[in-house]
Every structure is written in structure tokens, then in C-alpha cells.
């Protein structure tokens, strides 16, 4: 049989029962559409979260005091008997391959300017914070590179705090009160938006030593460092570990590399995407049962035709291919329609929720289409085999 004749014949079978074929393909289409849409959403979420995390750069390493991994909370949250200090920061800065180091103290307090007050997050950091965290200054400048222990009382405002305290008035050069102490505003930041629920704009940045005095503590909560782009973060992390261990005598800190975190995060998000895709796959399974049903009905109804074909000298294997072809064609058409549904759905979703753009992963799309054809093949095997094995005489009698 010529290949085009084969296609014409199978296609004819599908067209002869328009409504039935439409509904069968619709079943597969809904299944494939669900898989494509869901994996697109998963992929979109994946990218969204990774983008949130990498907005501070990818060559970051964070050091927290204490080895408190079992409790699942950061060491910075808790009191600690062996703290990280500003001096640790200074030592780390001298290590090779390290571009910048930031001491971090974080807290919460009231910020007063004139008659207004706002409670916001207070970050105690170094001048290097703007470089390490890739902050952009909207007006003025970031904290100056003062000696860490004797930094001047300067403050840089997050965009929301600036807006709340000063509105459209000039903020630069003004004096504000943070926890009873006076600070001079030397700059304000561009809006960074939210990261995982934390409003980065509702914050002020002051020198780390000042924050430690303000919060009445002697230790840092975190040290962030930026290493050179070419160097491996695990190698750098190892050097940091050695240097700190030499100073503290023990490994009483936790090092988290951005790379490792992204790896873990990526793993989790991939699992999520696959899990959600698998949920959609249930529909595909049901659609497969649908093809199986319809194909067995078709074989039943066309018993006479099969007898005729056999009488005209068509081989069993050809009958098998004909009916298998019909099943696969049904599934493939359904798959294509499903792609349309899924891609259209993702597009609509992106329109509705621009913050979380669905991302169509063509690998998933291609595998979904292949899966559809495979489902058709699988569902077609039983009915097609029954068709091929029909006895020609019996089959003809059915007419």
C-alpha cells in the first residue's frame, strides 16, 4: 500500500464519523492541553523564583553564625555563644577571588522624620552592600566606605520609606531619628519590589556598627560575600571555611553558596513541575481509555469492511497497521489541538497574571505530543489486533 493511500484511508475512517472523532480527539486534547498548560505554569514559576533569587547576583556566598541546620532556622535568628564579628568581615575581604564582603545586621524599628514616623526594617551594612546586592541608588549616594568601627551616622532610605516620610519633599541632607539616634540622609534607593513576600523598599540602610549599637548586640547576623565570576563557589567557600575556622578555632558557622541554593531550589521546582504535569497526565490516561473504547467500537462496526478487505487479499499485518494508524492519527490530532489549548491557556494566563508569566517549555510540549501519539498507539493495539485476527468469512457474514 502506498503511504499516501494509507493516510487517505485512515483519514477517511476518521472523517466518516465526524462527531465521534471530534469527541475522541477532544478528550486527548483536554489531556494534552492540561499537561502543556500546567508544565508551562510550573516552568514560569521556576523562572520567576530563580529570577527573584538571582537579582542579587549569582556569585554570592552567605555566612551565618552557628551550625543550626537541624532546626531549619537561620542562625542569625537566634542568640549565639560564638558570634561573627566585623573583624571576621575584614579578614574575609583579604582572601583571593573575593570581590566584596558585607557585614549584615538586621532589625526592626521606628524611623522618625519631622512629624512623621514609620516602622521599617533596618539593615546595618557596609558600603559594599550596594555592589554585592546590586542596588541602584535613585538619588544621592550609598553609604561611604568608612572604617567599619567608626562609621559616620549616615542613612540611605528605601523607596517606600522615603515616600512615606518625605513624600515629594527633598530628603537628601535631612536628619532622621532611628531608635533615638540621629542619622543624616545621604541617599535613597530605587524600588526593588518584593522578594518572596519581603518588601525590600520598606527598609533603611545604616552602617553595620551603628546598627549593632542600636540593637545593643556585639555580633553580626550574616556576612555576605561576592566572589569573582570565574571562580568556583565551592572552592571559594572552602577557603572561607578555612580562614574562619583558623580564627574561631571551630566550625561554628554555616556557609551557604548561592549556587548550592539555586541548585536545591531548581531541583525542588523541577519536581513540582513534573508533579503538576503528572496530575495533568491523569486526564491523558483517561483520554487514552477513550481512544481504546472508540477504536474497539469502530472495529466492531466495521467488521464487514474488514472481512471485505481480507477477501480482497489484504494481509493481517496491513489491517493491523490501518487500525493502529487510525488510533495514532486520532491521538496526534488531539495532541495538536491540545497544544493549541495549552499554549493559548498559558498566553491567557500570562495576560491575566503578568507578574508570573507562564513559560512554554518546548521540551515538554514536544514530549506531550509524542506522549499523545504513544497513548494512541497503546490504546490502538488491542482493537487493531482484534481487527487483524478476525476470520474473513465470519467478518463478511456480519455485513
Amino acid at each position: 500500500m502506498q503511504i499516501q493511500d494509507f493516510f487517505r484511508y485512515t483519514f477517511n475512517g476518521i472523517r466518516a464519523q465526524r462527531l465521534r472523532s471530534f469527541l475522541t480527539t477532544l478528550g486527548i486534547a483536554v489531556g494534552i492541553g492540561a499537561v502543556v498548560l500546567l508544565t508551562s505554569l510550573g516552568e514560569g514559576l521556576h523562572r520567576f523564583v530563580l529570577a527573584e533569587f538571582t537579582q542579587f547576583g549569582t556569585n554570592l556566598i552567605a555566612i551565618n553564625p552557628g551550625k543550626v541546620t537541624t532546626h531549619g532556622v537561620s542562625g542569625a535568628l537566634l542568640s549565639n555563644v560564638r558570634p561573627l564579628t566585623i573583624e571576621d568581615t575584614a579578614i574575609l575581604k583579604q582572601l583571593p577571588q573575593i570581590l566584596d564582603v558585607v557585614s549584615v545586621v538586621q532589625g526592626n524599628g521606628a524611623i522618625k522624620a519631622g512629624g512623621r514616623q514609620r516602622r521599617a526594617t533596618i539593615y546595618g551594612v557596609d558600603a559594599s552592600a550596594a555592589r554585592v546586592w546590586k542596588f541602584a541608588v535613585a538619588a544621592g549616594r550609598f553609604l561611604p566606605d568608612d572604617p567599619p568601627r567608626s562609621a559616620r551616622s549616615f542613612v540611605v532610605l528605601g523607596s517606600k520609606v522615603r515616600q512615606e516620610l518625605f513624600g515629594s519633599n527633598q530628603a537628601l541632607g535631612m536628619r532622621i531619628r532611628i531608635g533615638g539616634e540621629l542619622f543624616r540622609v545621604i541617599g535613597s534607593m530605587e524600588s526593588k519590589g518584593q522578594m518572596l513576600g519581603f518588601d525590600l523598599d520598606d527598609a533603611v540602610y545604616i552602617p553595620a556598627a551603628k546598627a549593632m549599637a542600636l540593637f545593643n548586640r556585639e555580633s553580626l547576623m550574616e556576612i555576605d560575600l561576592l566572589h569573582t565570576a570565574g571562580s568556583s563557589s565551592s572552592v571559594v567557600a572552602e577557603k572561607v571555611r578555612k580562614a574562619l575556622q583558623a580564627r574561631h578555632g571551630k566550625e561554628d558557622f554555616t556557609i551557604t553558596t548561592q549556587e548550592k541554593m539555586l541548585e536545591i531550589l531548581g531541583g525542588v521546582l523541577n519536581t513540582l513541575t513534573i508533579a503538576v504535569g503528572a496530575l495533568g497526565g491523569i486526564s491523558l490516561l483517561v483520554g487514552g481509555v477513550g481512544i481504546l473504547t472508540i477504536m474497539s467500537i469502530t472495529v466492531n462496526e466495521r467488521t464487514g469492511e474488514i472481512g471485505l478487505l481480507r477477501a480482497m487479499g489484504v494481509e493481517q499485518s496491513q489491517i493491523l497497521t490501518l487500525f493502529l494508524g487510525e488510533a495514532v492519527l486520532l491521538a496526534a490530532i488531539g495532541g495538536l489541538a491540545g497544544l493549541g489549548l495549552g499554549v493559548g491557556g498559558s498566553w491567557l494566563f500570562s495576560l491575566a497574571v503578568p507578574a508570573l508569566p507562564a513559560h512554554i517549555s518546548w521540551t515538554y510540549v514536544a514530549s506531550a505530543e509524542l506522549l499523545a501519539a504513544f497513548v494512541g498507539l497503546l490504546a490502538g493495539v488491542l482493537p487493531a489486533r482484534r481487527a487483524a485476527r478476525l476470520h474473513p468469512v465470519e467478518a463478511l457474514r456480519a455485513e
Binding site: 469527541l23 532546626h71 538586621q106 524599628g109 521599617a120 526594617t121 532611628i178 481509555v289
Partner: protein, 401 residues
Amino acid sequence: MQIRDILSFSLLAATANRGRTLLMLLAMAIAVSSVVVLISLGDSARHYVIDQFSTLGTNLLIVLPGRSETTGGPPPLLGATPRDLTLADAMALNRARTVRRITPIIAGSAPISVRSLEREMLVLGSTSELYEIRHLALSQGSFLPPGEPTRAEAVCVIGQKGKKELFGNQPAIGRWLRIGDRRFRVIGVLSSSGVSLGEDLGEVVIIPVAAAQALFNTSSLFRILVEATSPEGIEQTRKSILDTIRVRHEGEDDITVITQDAVLTTFDRIFKALTLSVAGIAAISLVVAGIMIMNVMLVAVSNRRAEIGLLKALGASRTQILGLFLTESTILSSIGAGIGLVLALLGMRLAAFLFPQFPLQLAPWSSAISLGVALITGVVFGVLPARRAADLEPAFALMRR
């Protein structure tokens, strides 16, 4: 026509073609069982988390230092504040009428050692009230003694797992251990209450709050736990806590009070939303199963034209034919849903057997859901075929053999 007759006639018609019927039931069962299983899993997870959270205490309020003005954002769980929450603040809260008991908490991490063995553990500085407020249980010894919270007695209560790691199978009561550079005598061992919301009480050492202040060299509290006298008193307590602290902090509102209720409600909402969306995704398969039922019913209608013509000739009205075919599709979807429900039940039983630590069970309203789903699917996807049947011209339907 009598209801019984409609049912038996349709049942007979629905099951006349065994292979086809089985496949349809299979499709429906897959769809229904996946929806029911996912709802049940979500529901079990919700119960688990809420139960866990409820064991933290009853009528509980948590006071933390710091306050953030960003609405809808998370409370300032991290970080320090210019003005500490002090032991004196905590004691002052005791005066309110609706407060049953309070306990201050300082949390820290420190190396704990017994001879050469050393472990990094969570150290909680608290008072004897922690025992009642957190519903703790001891396996041996006694809890921190009651008395002035400012007294730094060198005693500690240790978690089950920590005890095993430091003392092995030997008795721990009366032994000394070292936290940082200080020595403490073990007076009690907690019973293994397992993990409760990430806080592993197995690896914790509880010491008097004053001792923790000295150990960590801080006067600042990490949390204050407050237990109200009654659920109705919670709101009142919250207000009086805010008022008391405001007066003590020179008119500033610089604390955050979280009520257990609010957290429970949030968890409840999150888990419900999660369950619904996962079940919703699985419900797409119901649509597919419905389409399939519609398809097969359409085939049945065209195969049974003569029968439909005959029924009309015998005086069946359009409505009767419509009813017969709708009943048939609904019977099919119902049986399928029933099988799906049984599959889901078996699946959940199996899961409960495999993971005995989680309370896995079929969601209570599963049967109602599957029944509802079956009826809706049967009717919605049965309408088109049934209308086709009802609209057949009897003369035409009978004409072909």
C-alpha cells in the same frame, strides 16, 4: 413510567455491551479516584498541620519584638529592635485579668558537651510555666522549678534525642553538662513528642531564662508566650498586651502579637486553597471521562435507532426517551464513580499503611463529592446523546433494519 422501571431498563441497556461499559467505568473510576485521593491527601495534610499546631498550646498568644508596617507582609520574625523586649516586660503582662500564665523565651544555639562529646543544640531559656503552656511531657525527672525568673539556677531539662546522643543509655538525671562555658545539672528529660512544626524538641536544652541571659549575654527576649484564660479572652488579652508594652516603651507600639487562632486560620486557608487547586487539576480528567461517556452514548444512540423508534411506536414520549438515556449515562457515571471511590479508599488505606506516622484517611465528604460529580457528569454529558435519541423521527428510526 415507574422509577424502578426506568432504572432497571437503563441499567440493562447500559451494561448490555460489556467491554465498552467496562472501559467507560475504568475511565470514570480513574478520574474520580484521583480527585478523591488528592482531596483526601490535602485534607489529611491540613489536619496534620493544624493538629500539630494546636499541640503548641491552647488560647496561645505569641509576643515578638519589632513591628512592620507593610500590610499583608509577614511579621518581623527575624532581626533585632532598638528597644528590647525584657524580662520585666514579660512579668508586667502577668497582671492582666485574662492572662492565665506567661513564659518568656530566649532561644539560642550553643555547643553542649559531656566530657569529650559535643553537640550543637537549640538552647531555650524559659520558666517553669513553659511546661503547661506548651503541653510538654517529661519521661524522667522534673521540669524547671517555679520561682523568681531572675534567679539563674544551673539546672536544665534535656530533649530525648539529645539525651541519647550525650549520655547514651545511661541515666542522665543528676549528671552535669556544659553549655558554652557554663555547667548545668540535668533535672529532667522530655518525653519524645516528636517534631512539632519544625521545632525539634528532641534536640533541645531548656534552662532558666536568667541563665540563658547570662549565657548569651543578652537581656533581650526572643518571644513571650501568653496563655489566655479562655478563647473569648484572646482578643482582650491581645489589647492588654499591646497597652501594657506601649506604656512601658514610652508610648511606642514596637511589638507584634500573633494569636494562635490567626495562624491556625491562615494555615487552614492555605491548605484548603492548595487542596482545591490540586483537586481542580485532577478534575480535568473528569471532563475527559465525561466527554468519553458522551461519545459512547452517542454511539449507543445511533446503534439503537430501531429500538428508539420502537419505543416511540409503543407510545414512549420524547420526555420518556430523554429520561431513559439520561438515566443510562448517569448510571454509568455513578457506577464508575462508585468504583473510583472504592479505589480511592483502598489507595488511602495503603498509604496509611505505608506511612503510619501521618493520619491519612479518606476525606469525610468524599462520597458526597463523588456522588455529586457522577450525577453532574452523567447529566451534563448525557444531555446531547439523550436529546439526539429523543429527537429521532420514529418512522425514520424504524425504516432501517
